[in-house]
Point group: C2
Chain length 79, copies 2
């Protein structure tokens, strides 16, 4: 099965990467865009057909390695 | 309106970040996960209610600034 993990900075955490993008867009004359935030998207294949097991594995892996849950929030999509 | 841009490395392009994650997972004893790829997720607000205009703006912005279309592919979701 395929899993997609979306990791975003929590909304109350400052996002310098997003601010850099927003500032670059303003310099390019794009003034309608605001509140830019950059996150991560991690895709993986999991060698299992048990959806509960896959969800559990991906959740565990995300908590231990992929997301810093102090400042980041995540969502998981299984395909 | 809110736009989400997903930027991924093309499948034929080597992804060292994904490989590093995969290797770390193997070291943690997680052997069922393979083919890890890391991409970017960019969220933004656009001050417009014309969905066609929003799509066009985000597509243009992605091509010029957010994605390197030589090695990356992208998809856009408007909410």
């Amino acid at each position: 099965m395929k899993a997609l993990v979306y990791v975003r900075l929590k909304s109350e955490v400052l996002d310098p990467q997003g601010q850099a993008i927003e500032s670059a867009l303003k310099n390019l004359g794009q003034k309608k865009i605001s509140n830019v935030r950059q996150g991560k998207l991690i895709e993986m294949d999991i060698n299992s057909h048990n959806i509960d097991e896959v969800k559990k594995t991906v959740d565990q892996v995300t908590k231990t390695l992929l997301a810093n849950t102090v400042i980041e929030e995540y969502s998981i999509e299984i395909k």
